[in-house]
Symmetry: C2
Subunit: 214 residues, 2 copies
DNA sequence: GTCTATACGGCGATAGAC
DNA sequence: GTCTATCGCCGTATAGAC
C-alpha cells in the first residue's frame, strides 16, 4: 500500500491519483466528489483508483490526513516550542497567513469534514500527537504557564489559555474558511482578497498583541 | 408555492418538510443528504417533497436561505444601526454567542455551502440587502466613519473597517464552525463546550475592546 | 394533497483481458 | 499495473391511483 515502483513514465500513478483526489474532494466536498472525476483529473482509469485505494472512503481519509497535516502540523510545533509568547503569536500568524494564501480552500474543507464525519476529529488529534510528539493538552498547559508568568511579571493581561488559543486560531483561519462570503461582503475579487490578506499580515499581530498588553 | 391551507391535522406538510430538510441537510451536508431521509424525518412520503419543492436543489436553496438569514440578519441590523461602536461590539458578540449556542451547526453548514456552491455567496448578499435595506458596503462605510471619529478623538486605536469587521466575526463564529476540532483539542464534551462559551461571553468583549483602547 | 409504484440514470465496485 | 466492460444498488424524479 505504501510501496512505489520506478517503472511509470512520469510521477507514480498512485501519487497522481492522490493529487487528483486532493483537488476533486476539495472542489466538490467528499460526498459530492465522483470517482470518475478523480480518474479523469489523474489521467487514469476509474478501476485504478480502487486498485490503489480499495474504496472511496479510504481515498477520502488519505486526502483528509494530507490536508489537515499540512495545515496544523507546523502550528502545533510552534506552540509546543520554548519560544517566547510574543514570538509564538507572530510565528503562528505568519505561518497561517502564508500557508493559506497558497491553499485558501483548506480551512473550509477541514471544517466541513470534521462536522460531517465525527470520527475525523479524533483522527485529526491522533495525527497531531504523532507529528509533534506532544498531545494538545500539554501544549495548552505550557501556554498557560507562559501566560501566568507574564501576568505575574505584569507584562500581560490575564487570559485563559484556551481563549488565548482559540482567539489566535479564529483570527487566522476564519477569513479563509469564509472567503466566498468575505469577498461578497467586502466586494473583493481574488486579487483584492490577496491584498486584504497582505494588510492583515501587518494588522493582525498588532491587534492581537495590543489586546493583551497592559 | 407560498399558499397554505388550514386543512392538515398538525403543522402544514410543507412546513414539516422544510423543518425536516433543515435538520437533514445540516446533518449530512447538502450532497450527502437523501430525499428519503428527509421524508422519513418529516413523516411524509418522498413524492410529497417534489410536490412542494420540485427538486432537491430548490429544497436545498430554501434551507440555506433560512439558516443564513437567521444567522446574519440580526448582525447586519446591529451594524447598520446608529448605536455607539462599543455598543455594537458588545451587541454582536452577545447575539452571536447566544444564537449559536442554540444552533451550533449553522456556521459550519453555511461555510460548507458557500465554498461548494459559488452562487450561494451572491444569494447570501442579496438576502442581507433585502432584509436590512442596506448593502454591506454601506455598513462598512458607516463603520469606518465611526472608527475615524473615535480615532480623531483619541479614544481608540487606528484600524481599517474591514479588519475590524472580520476580526469581530472571526472571533464569534469560528469556535462554532470548528466545534468538533475544538472539543477534541481542548478535551471538551458538549457540557464542557457550553461552559467554554459561557466564559467566552465575558472574555471576548474584554479582549476585543482591549485591543482597540489607547 | 398524499400515497404506491416505477422509470431512469449514475455511481461505487469488481471481473477479467492484456 | 492498467485497461474495458459490466454488475448491482441507490437516488432523484415522475406517473398515476385514491
Amino acid at each position: 500500500m505504501v510501496k512505489k515502483k520506478a517503472k511509470s513514465p512520469d510521477a507514480d500513478a498512485e501519487q497522481r491519483i492522490l493529487d487528483a483526489a486532493h483537488v476533486v474532494f476539495v472542489r466538490r466536498g467528499t460526498a459530492g466528489a465522483r470517482m470518475q472525476e478523480i480518474a479523469d483529473e489523474a489521467g487514469v482509469n476509474k478501476a485504478l483508483l480502487h486498485y490503489y485505494f480499495r474504496s472511496k472512503d479510504r481515498l477520502a481519509l488519505a486526502v483528509f490526513q494530507r490536508v489537515a497535516g499540512a495545515v496544523f502540523g507546523r502550528i502545533a510545533q510552534v506552540l509546543a516550542s520554548d519560544a517566547e509568547l510574543e514570538e509564538k503569536v507572530r510565528g503562528i500568524i505568519a505561518i497561517y497567513l502564508d500557508q493559506f494564501s497558497k491553499t485558501p480552500y483548506a480551512p473550509a474543507y477541514v471544517i466541513s469534514e470534521v462536522n460531517l464525519h465525527p470520527e475525523r476529529a479524533s483522527q485529526f488529534l491522533e495525527m497531531i500527537s504523532r507529528t509533534t510528539g506532544a498531545a494538545p493538552v500539554q501544549m495548552l498547559a505550557l501556554l498557560q504557564r507562559q501566560i501566568d508568568q507574564r501576568v505575574r511579571a505584569k507584562t500581560m493581561r490575564e487570559i485563559a489559555a484556551d481563549q488565548f488559543f482559540t482567539n489566535l486560531i479564529s483570527l487566522c483561519v476564519f477569513p479563509f474558511a469564509a472567503k466566498p462570503l468575505l469577498c461578497a461582503v467586502l466586494q473583493l475579487d481574488d486579487a483584492g482578497f490577496r491584498e486584504y490578506i497582505q494588510r492583515r499580515k501587518v494588522a493582525l499581530p498588532r491587534f492581537y498583541l495590543d489586546a493583551l498588553r497592559i
